[in-house]
């Protein structure tokens, strides 16, 4: 044999537990099949696809091969990711609609105001649910830090800290730049500041994605009791309810405003013809719909997992 091609890059798509079990023989298989030559792109793509599926399976997000607790945990994290999508879409929605009461006639405000109030209350409820979930898992997090040590924890949260620092710095720069504009510049924002705003927005989205990824990685490492896992499941289902309300409120606001003051979505000149479906609103709605899809899928899996965990005998030796 004597060949020593390193296939560790090809295996990185698979979860650690899978690599520990099949990694070595899989690497030997790749050597046997492809020898000294490169692994073809089609084979690499199959490994990316199958490795991702394996990760989702191991995380309890798809399939039925993991226990009910793991499934509830994975599905709850899926709902958390759905909330992340709503944070992005919701922030854009809040920015887009911030001046709507001034741009539309007072007589048409009642229904959009109710809808906007619903969005705000449901969004606050979502934040509250996330905080409760954080508190519920805090003892397990402290225990994890005690057993694994800060060094191990730092390796997991390093990216999150760096991305938060970069985004925070960028936000401070953009806000102070905006604050130093002259009155004439404030009316027509310079293109450079607009570009910086777009970059800042993208940085926020990226930081949020990194934060969610880190939270997911940490939650999978926590030793949670069955009871805490079930509480997380219930909180995730409540979160799905809050997301439905946010979407319903945003949609109602959009429809009623489009009916009574469509110019708000265009030139802002009252009674002027405008499309009631601007690209920004469509993208926001689609992002929220994607989040709802994830949350719905997660909620169904939590409900099934809870049903199964009630039927199954309690596993021995689980500790927090």
């Amino acid at each position: 044999m004597g060949r020593s091609i390193d296939h560790s890059d090809d295996l990185k798509w698979y979860p650690r537990s899978w690599r520990e079990h099949y990694g070595e023989e899989f690497a030997v298989f790749l050597q046997d099949r492809y020898g000294d030559g490169p692994v073809p792109m089609s084979a690499r793509l199959s490994m990316i696809r199958c490795g991702t599926v394996e990760r989702l399976r191991t995380g309890g997000i798809i399939g039925s091969s993991v226990n009910a607790d793991r499934r509830i945990r994975g599905a709850s994290l899926l709902v958390l990711c759905a909330w992340g999508l709503f944070v992005v879409a919701g922030a854009a929605f809040a920015k887009y609609t911030e001046h709507w009461p001034l741009a539309t006639p007072q007589v048409d405000h009642r229904m959009p105001e109710v809808a906007m109030g619903l969005v705000r209350v449901a969004a606050a409820a979502g934040v509250f649910i996330v905080l409760i979930a954080g508190l519920v898992t805090l003892p397990a997090l402290v225990a994890l830090v005690r057993t694994d040590g800060w060094k191990s924890m730092w390796a997991t949260i390093r990216m999150m800290v760096v991305s938060a620092a970069v985004t925070g710095t960028a936000a401070i720069v953009i806000v102070s730049w905006n604050a130093h504009l002259s009155p004439s510049q404030s009316v027509t924002t310079p293109w450079s500041l607009r570009a910086a705003g777009v970059v800042g927005g993208l940085l926020v989205v990226a930081a949020l994605a990194v934060c969610l990824g880190t939270v997911v990685a940490i939650v999978y490492r926590l030793r949670l009791s069955d009871q805490v896992t079930r509480v997380l499941g219930v909180l995730a289902m409540a979160m799905s309810g809050a997301l439905v309300l946010i979407f319903a409120g945003a949609l109602t606001w959009w429809i009623t405003t489009a009916m009574h003051a469509p110019w708000f979505f265009g030139s802002l000149v009252p009674r002027s013809p405008s499309s009631p479906a601007p690209l920004a609103m469509v993208v926001m709605a689609l992002t929220m719909l994607s989040g709802l899809g994830l949350a719905g899928f997660g909620t169904v899996r939590i409900a099934v997992g809870m049903g199964r965990s009630r039927c199954a005998p309690a596993p021995a030796g689980r500790t927090e």
Binding site: R33, V39, V53, E54
Partner: protein
């Protein structure tokens, strides 16, 4: 077909789990030997991801089991449960083959 067989894909002729069980029915084989055998008898080259994904599912459901490694290659053999699932899948496919053969025979008779 059993629940395990339906869940992992033993319904279509080119389902990787079915091809693997069919190959292992002859005797234990490691990954590369499996892929070569499958290519020979079915004309299908399973991608590395599909092959090991199916091996993992079959092992997880107890339809195949690993034997001790030989030169870093781990052979697998079919279990009793795996043989039963394969036999059931073969019977179901045989029914379809029989019906198709029979109907083609009738068609040939009518054309003649």
């Amino acid at each position: 077909m059993g629940k395990a067989g339906k869940a992992i894909g033993l319904r279509r002729v080119n389902d990787p789990p079915l091809l693997i069980l069919t190959s292992l029915a002859e005797g234990p084989k490691h990954g590369y030997a499996l892929s070569q055998d499958i290519e020979q008898f079915a004309g299908v080259q399973l991608s590395p991801g599909a092959l090991y994904g199916a091996i993992a599912r079959l092992e997880e459901r107890g339809l195949i089991e690993a034997l001790p490694e030989v030169e870093r290659r781990r052979p697998y053999r079919v279990t009793a449960a795996g043989s039963a699932e394969l036999a059931q899948a073969m019977r179901e496919m045989r029914r379809v083959v029989d019906v198709g053969t029979h109907r083609l025979g009738l068609l040939k008779g009518w054309l003649a």
